[in-house]
Symmetry: C2
Subunit: 373 residues, 2 copies
Amino acid sequence: MRSHYYRERLDKCSHLMKDMELDAILLTKPANMFYLTGDGRLCAFAMITKEGHVALGVPKTDVEDVKQFAHFDELMGFEDEVGMIHTIAHYFEHFDIEKGNVGLEYTFLTQSMMAMVTHPHAKPKEIMVKDCTHIMSELRMIKDDDEIERIKKAAKVAESGMKAAVDALKPGITESQVAAEAEYSMRQAGAEEFWRSYVSSGDRTNIAHGLPSHRKLKQGDLVMIDIHPIFNGYSADMCRTICVGKPSKEQHEAYELYLKAQQSTIEKVKAGIGVGELEVAMHGVLKDAGYGEHIFGPPIHGVGIEFEEAPLPPGHAFFHGEKEPEPLEANTVIAVGNCGLYLGNFGVRVEDTVAVKEKGHEVLTGYPRHLEL
Amino acid sequence: MRSHYYRERLDKCSHLMKDMELDAILLTKPANMFYLTGDGRLCAFAMITKEGHVALGVPKTDVEDVKQFAHFDELMGFEDEVGMIHTIAHYFEHFDIEKGNVGLEYTFLTQSMMAMVTHPHAKPKEIMVKDCTHIMSELRMIKDDDEIERIKKAAKVAESGMKAAVDALKPGITESQVAAEAEYSMRQAGAEEFWRSYVSSGDRTNIAHGLPSHRKLKQGDLVMIDIHPIFNGYSADMCRTICVGKPSKEQHEAYELYLKAQQSTIEKVKAGIGVGELEVAMHGVLKDAGYGEHIFGPPIHGVGIEFEEAPLPPGHAFFHGEKEPEPLEANTVIAVGNCGLYLGNFGVRVEDTVAVKEKGHEVLTGYPRHLEL
């Protein structure tokens, strides 16, 4: 990506840091480092000062590699955890930050990682810590053209993965083997990586997080396939529910109702609408049909570097350290259909990645929405 | 698994909790819940009292499914985060725990998850929190026969994945496509899941965490392939480094040295030896050959439900909330070869999963260790 993007992002970040009286933020979450510097790798950190200076710490093995990707002012390699702590201390000294506030990623740092980055040998005692989660969310929420293009390509990759998975459906194949087809196809179609795939079947379509198991598909089973490829650092999110064979009347009716709820919610997507409004709309269709007790999960979330990111629905946002989202702006990208309709012996769900436009929206994941093969 | 295993594990857990003056532990990490109850799923929790009672909270959609897998005394479904908080509060009241100490997983809980499970509507004010990471590590460290069998099967699955990846190596294929071959084969061979695969090539073999990229293999490249299948809940960990074509003298020498270090360290593995001793042994071979500045990463870690778990080397353990490990006991399973030898323009690494025996060891991952195809 061209470097002026990073300058603009850092400038915007500086403004948000000043609003929160932060002197620096210390990032360890790869997605956030990737957004602000162009490189997000494991076991590394980025310190960003309120003046917009970027200092990176990476494993000493990675120093040359990171130079090819990252935009930064300072770079140091470290040997191990102790080295990482000392590198953090060095940067606080280098930037002359002795007191004030540093922002940390409360939704990412475990207790033990928190203890490490705030260790007395890392962080000067008089620097206080604050949560900077919502700064990063606010920065990443509205996508630029280059980001939208990457998400579109990830969506195409998802279509390829879904086709391979659906083509493989037949009695006797395991859920894990269905996932194998989707994942193999996504990597062949250009995904460098993917987030965890969900494939559940039969009774298991009723559970909230259907990770693939050894369960073998049976004639008449529903199969729920939810995939999330990553293309050049950006993700798409798509779920389809398919019947192996002829669906029962109950399966058919539940599916048609869900699809109506999802599609009519997508129809409402445009700049200015709130995530909460979309949630109410989607739940409304299901509730009006008498299925209010069978809904589970928030129907909407953002999509970008992560397949689930801000904006989150108001209820969810609170517990994820996020602010209640503002009305959606153009070039936000969301997934619609993250909640399921769960009837006890089976569940249905259809989810698509949708870009918010000034006067409407664009559905990026175009794979057909047919219950029958 | 037969239920007496869970009774024994809970009894042992009770003893460790009493030593730490814990009245209960509250688990949300799937690996820990799986070990103590037989079921570990996302967005769920298990409260274990010092008397060994098990209370589960799961998404309301999952109540019937969890009954098929988990050993428990109490089970409740919840609707959302608020419901989860109230379910936790309900169990504290049900078990009559109004004060005292509750153990939490400090190496797993983010700041925001911590805020949720200790929310005033979840945890009574007079209950204090402590880190229970090392209780779970101590419980999980020594494997029973059933666990060893599962890890052996995971190791066989890893061999199948490695063969598929190595067979696919040729100039022009991307790192991501190599990963695709390994992952596809592992699922076909019976893995229900796998942890993140690492495939790096050329210059990228020098970086610490080589996630697959779009880089295309070239003649003369080294390719580092590190895979971690999961079979019936248990993992194996294997890494191989292979040359596409004829290795250079420098590549060949570095590889042979590394293999000597790794194999001679494996030779030392038996009950009674310390992880620190093995670390010193492995580093020793590399240092004696003049490569001390080119080592990165801890050479040894445990393998089990997770592909990286306790025991960790002493230095690493401190930062992961673990105690310094005791000498290894029989039926501990470790990976040997987690550190790499990084020469700047390339790196080499060979890693195997090894079961500790009373009078020696058993190497579980048998794929050939040849640099050349």
